[in-house]
Assembly symmetry: C2
Homo-oligomer: 453 residues x 2
């Protein structure tokens, strides 16, 4: 029989065994020196946890480590039927009537632990470990998990996008009823865009989910984000690639953002992810575990797995270049000399760059390198008809990126350039709105709410 108290050793294990506790049991503990009552589910313990502690998942979704030396009184009740689990790509059965969700692990903080010696966060957790930490997931689905790779998300490349897209395609073909991808948050929106272009006509939403705190920390947001991601992939009416993350610093709700319209807008806040130039698609009430549609402009689920259109290649010779005062046009010249396959510019204002750079851009286009213009303001859209510089850029063949995020345009050009090197077709594809990466109508709701309002 497998261990019912995985990770617990010494006198903590002795205590728990004496109480008849196992992982998944409800624990009530009163702490020394006050009225503090800890109540929640007993969690497995991992190698990096402090010794002589038990790990309890509180009602708010957070894990807390409690030193047994602080415990005055402890009770065990309601042991659920969730079995303890091993690690690595195994299939996990919970109830046969439930749908199957595939969890694809790509690393990131959601799959990482604090290394207590150094305080640094290191990738260490498998999807199965995550399921161990969040027994509530068992009520929604059976899970099938695969660790594709375990890297920090700044190390993602277009090649990784291809690997993830292939894995998602295989999972859809295998007949699962939902897919959740755990991913580092740094570049999660890039991967979300990549999957959105690579796989269309989806039978259910592909949800990317991460966390801003490592999953073994008391303040981890991983649990609620994962629950929201599972609810989304199973219940949402749309068939899009989405990012599911906390909507506010509190734990009451998560937002479902369209993958091609979302951006990490804060380095550390739990509600760092924000839809730009678009509304979130839906909101997940984490108390009621219900989904509410916010944005009716969404792509419905396709008829089934047979309808999926896949084009999973990405070109890794695209550059994303920012315009700034004094921008050195030799940077463009270098990209042309090195025969890059495309350039996305984060232009100023409505889509500009210093006129001293125009000759270099003209040369790029003449040599068959597509140049796409986007707005570094992030909010708003390209309009190159208003000012002289914009008109000149349009005349020489620069492709206007409309209201696409620079990051989305970068991913899209990488996807397009992997399919064709014909600059006319590239232009046409870049100006085709495939998966709502362009929002034709902006309302005041699409802008950040300014301070003064």
């Amino acid at each position: 029989m497998s261990d019912r108290l995985p990770g617990y050793n010494g006198r903590v294990r002795d205590l728990l065994e004496k109480l008849g506790a196992r992982v998944g049991c409800r624990i009530r503990a009163t702490l020394i020196g006050g009225n503090i009552l800890i109540e929640g589910l007993l969690m497995p313990k991992h190698e990096f946890s402090a010794p002589d502690t038990i790990i309890v998942k509180l009602g708010n979704g957070y894990n807390i480590g409690v030193s047994i030396d602080r415990i005055l009184n402890i009770e065990v009740s309601e042991c659920t039927s969730v079995p303890p689990r091993g690690s690595g790509g195994m299939q996990i059965d919970t109830a046969h009537s439930l749908p199957t969700v595939k969890i694809i692990g790509c690393g990131g903080t959601i799959a990482s632990r604090v290394e207590y010696e150094t305080g640094a966060v290191k990738p260490a957790m498998t999807p199965s470990d995550l399921l161990d930490l969040i027994p509530e997931l068992a009520e929604f689905a059976r899970y099938d998990s695969e660790i594709l790779f375990n890297i920090l998300s700044e190390d993602m490349t277009p090649k990784h996008w291809e690997t993830i897209a292939r894995s998602v395609y295989r999972a859809i073909s295998s007949g699962v009823e939902g897919i959740v991808i755990t991913h580092g948050t740094d570049t999660m929106s890039f991967t979300a865009s990549a999957l959105a272009f690579a796989l269309r006509n989806l039978p259910f939403p592909i949800t990317l989910v991460g966390s801003q705190r490592s999953s073994d920390r008391p303040s981890a947001d991983a649990a609620l984000n994962l629950i929201a991601a599972v609810i989304t992939t199973l219940k949402a009416p749309f068939g899009e690639v989405v990012v599911v993350m906390h909507s506010t610093p509190s734990d009451s709700s998560a937002l479902v953002h369209r993958g091609v319209k979302v951006r990490k807008m804060h380095s550390s806040r739990r509600d760092a992810f924000q839809s730009i130039n678009d509304l979130p698609l839906a909101k997940i009430d984490l108390h009621k575990k219900e989904i509410a549609l916010i944005n009716s402009r969404c792509i419905p689920r396709s008829g089934g797995k047979e309808e999926v259109m896949a084009s999973v290649g990405f070109d890794d010779r695209i550059a994303l270049v920012k315009a700034y005062p004094g921008f050195q046009n030799e940077i463009i010249d270098f990209l042309v000399d090195k025969k890059f396959h495309g350039i996305v510019i984060e232009g100023t204002g409505l889509g500009h760059i210093g006129s001293y750079a125009l000759d270099s851009i003209r040369r790029a286009i003449e040599e068959g390198i597509p140049v796409v213009m986007t707005v570094q303001t992030l909010f708003g859209r390209i309009n190159m008809n208003v000012y002289t510089t914009g008109r000149k850029l349009l005349e020489m063949g620069v492709i206007p990126g409309d209201d696409m995020l620079p990051e989305t345009a970068y991913v899209k050009l990488s996807w397009v350039a992997a399919q064709t090197r014909d600059i006319r077709i590239i232009r046409e594809m870049m100006m085709t709105n495939y998966v709502n990466e362009v929002n034709p109508v902006h309302t005041p709701q699409h802008f950040l709410k300014p301070f003064a309002e």
Copy 2:
């Protein structure tokens, strides 16, 4: 005697002369076919205006062009004493008891007109023209105007920053009591940062102001922004370089943003400028024409013009480079080969870049090129102690940019590198908080208000 109806010809001029009207008079006109009443001040007319129209400044600050063929009835009353004006760097007297404000023209939309043949916006207006358009300015100050250059702001370079800084320094030394710089909005925040570093211990705020609509358009925001900028430079208690722009799409108020903490966040909205990781310094009530301090963390006015510290040089061999999945480290190698003087990276998350680029960054630092890390999330701050990649970057000598905007860090490194090429001193200066370019404490108010709240 100079023309009292500048720009008016033909039958429009005949009508206005018959009525005894001159520029500055109050006009009440009823239009044909409805109850529409136009009431406001008669404005001068410019070469690009449609023929047979009169230009009226409405109470809300906007100019409107009214075809005389639509006018049913017209009355003239209350002709103010504001004289019509010529164009170009002349001194304009209004009342001798008023303080003197210097207006320095650097081009941009605020100094541009729509070219009606093409629909394009072209730079065409002098500061004097602007004063013509906004007679209300006369109640606050006497104005001295200088056209430094008339370019679109995407053409600004570090050399232009030097020219502007010298002009501001000369103006302060000459004893003016306020300075307003009209500037294109695309790169206005870069110039604001440049001036903030170049000129410290200021006796009054240096206000940069622009508009998102050309000044001769009915929806121009130029008038109210300029009035707010004049109020700020004259009345605000702080001595900082600030950007003054609309706070909301309506005309009720303007916000005063710290130059090193502001960013253009929308390509076209009038409230495009937003403070990032900081609160605006003050709010201008455009009805009461009063200033209200919002942010108490500000640098007070210095004792006088003698105390100004000037260091107006900028290095134009700094690159601002964005990290993205698949970032090609050969771009860093190129900057090192070309002996750039510094590199600012817009890193992902807490300050990361793909680990495949670390060798190139190490080489840059070994060759004496400072590398500064900032966050592409814009909101939040660098923390390179959390993850392995960040620690490696810190160990090799990458300079953490704290919560500085990437654009501000770029300008600051340009300013620092113009003073020293000693990488240790550069590091020390980059980590010195000169003009509140770093905000040590963030509160929830400093983040954009997310959709869900």
